[in-house]
Amino acid sequence: MDFDELYQEIILDHSKRPRNSGVLPPPATRGSGYNPACGDEVTVFVLKSAEGKIETISFQAQACAICTASTSLMTLQVKGTTQEQALEIQRHFIDFLTKDGSSEGLGHLRALAGVKKFPQRLKCATLGWHALEAALKGDAG
């Protein structure tokens, strides 16, 4: 059933118990994503190490299961990478969902493959990733 493909165990799990949930104070930078269709909102907080790697990352979401799980999985995937690497993963993940790109190297993020059959949920699956980009490029706050 398509639906269970969308809401896989791991998605339900991450939506109920999001990893890296919470707020980071400055000097962490923050970035937000907003979906006007439903009022969903995600804020991502990033703290980089001296070498420019993502040392700590967290997020807060008022969002659906797909969005919450995608953001939660995202934090696990990009932690410890550089800004360039993180944005490369973002691009790779979005290509995977929208252009039938390869899932190689996406790890647990593959669980979001079901979104391909529910294009109206694409915004949900990528909202946190846009917030990540904003946080990486953003101001402390």
Binding site: F3, C38, G39, C64, A65
Partner: protein, 410 residues
């Protein structure tokens, strides 16, 4: 409780309902967003295009004469539907949104002075909020809001008179039935109070026009707006009723063909209402299809539809409240057939997607009531809205799907 089911007699008139979605018979409970159309309306659109179409007004040939007569008869039909004195008080627009924009621009934009007040409620649809924000900013007027309190969405109407006494309110614009709370507002009383204080009134009848008898003379409002697509009619057509004495003083909204008496390269002179407000080729088929929809509603009986709505609204609210952890918004009784709710911690998106997977069409989101939903401490709610063709067994399926969802996401 034993209301004779309208669905038994009329459901077969709606061909779209006879389909399966994700392997289940469709249960369409998104009627507050848009209703479906009976065969008579669909057929009338085809008939019109196959036999009578031409541009209206300027034509002297047979097709154009026929199209013009159908279009102007549709205007008369709407006047009768609203018990308006005069077809000239009926303006065809694209929908409720355009009707309200027209009044905000052509009435408020010219009449309001800096410091004047516009009174709204906190339960207005964005269509009856943002146009007023815009015009208020433009002319320096100020917005006032009637406070909506609690999950039941109550408004304390007893303060109304004082608000008018204490503030320079020039217009009050409010919804007849709230599209998120299912609450029915006492519009006739509001108009009475407003007029006592010399204020103008606008009723957003988007959720009431297809659901109950509407009488602009009994309500005694100055403006009233509704959309065809929410009352069995075609998309792209809506109505602005306006008191003739007000319409006559208003400047045009859009300009172009069909709304002028005379044009030179330098300037133009306007026609009287309603044509002053209908620049360009109108949605002829839409007006004609809307008239057919109104015939249909009167054939079903607007009193019956209202009873049916109350019945479904009340039992749905009652049965949903019995589901553990389910929070219902809106009044406890006397409600329209609209029930918004929050089930545990399940996000409305997930709930709606789950319901759809079982063939049940709900809406989830802020329902264009973002400030109100925020006030409830939420980002989104789910909403089930009933219409004349819904059955008790469809309500059973809604309840069942909510129980399953609680388990699935729980």
């Amino acid at each position: 409780m034993t209301v004779p089911s309208l669905a038994e007699r009329f459901r077969a008139d709606f061909p779209i309902l006879d389909q399966t979605v994700n392997g289940h018979p469709l249960v369409y409970l998104d009627n507050a967003a848009s209703t479906q159309r009976p065969t008579s309306v669909i057929n009338e659109l085809s008939r019109y295009y196959r036999h009578d179409h031409a541009n209206v007004h300027r034509g002297l040939h047979a097709l154009s004469t026929r199209a013009t007569a159908l279009y102007e008869n549709a205007r008369q039909r709407v006047a009768t539907f609203l018990n308006a004195e005069d077809p000239e008080s009926i303006v065809f627009t694209r929908g409720t949104t355009e009707s309200i924009n027209l009044v905000a621009s052509s009435w408020a934009g010219n009449e309001l002075k800096p410091g004047d007040g516009i009174l709204l409620t906190q339960m207005e649809h964005h269509a009856n909020l943002i146009p007023w924000q815009i015009v208020a900013r433009r002319v320096g007027a100020r917005l006032y809001f009637l406070t909506v309190t609690g999950d039941e969405g109550e408004i304390d109407w007893s303060q109304l008179d004082t608000i008018f006494t204490d503030n320079p309110i020039r217009i009050v614009a409010l919804t007849h039935i709230s599209n998120s709370l299912g609450r029915i507002n006492p519009v006739a009383e509001v108009c009475r109070t407003a007029h006592k204080h010399g204020a103008v009134t606008l009723i957003d009848a988007a959720q009431s026009a297809g659901h109950m008898p509407l009488d602009v003379r009994a309500i005694d409002c100055d403006f009233l707006a509704f959309s065809g697509h929410k009352c069995c009619g075609p998309t792209g057509i809506g109505i602005l009723y306006g008191r003739k004495s007000l319409l006559e003083k208003m400047e045009p909204y859009q300009t172009g063909g069909e709304m002028i008496v005379s044009v030179t390269f330098e300037g133009a002179e306007w026609k009287p209402p309603p044509h002053r407000f209908e620049a360009g080729t109108p949605h002829i088929a839409g007006a004609i299809g809307l008239a057919t929809a109104l015939d249909y509603l009167d054939q079903v009986g607007r009193n019956s539809i209202q009873e049916n709505d109350h019945h479904f609204g009340n039992i749905a609210a009652t049965r949903l409240r019995e589901i553990p952890d389910l929070r219902v918004f809106g009044p406890l009784d006397e409600r329209a057939g609209i029930v918004s709710f929050q089930l545990g911690k399940i996000h409305a998106h997930d709930l709606v997607a789950f319901a759809d997977q079982h063939g049940v069409a709900l809406r989830g989101g802020h329902h264009c009531n973002q400030p109100l939903v925020r006030k409830l401490g939420l980002h989104a709610t789910a909403r089930a809205s009933f219409y004349l063709y819904n059955t008790e067994s469809e309500l059973d399926r809604l309840v069942a799907v909510l129980h399953s969802a609680a388990k699935y996401f729980g």
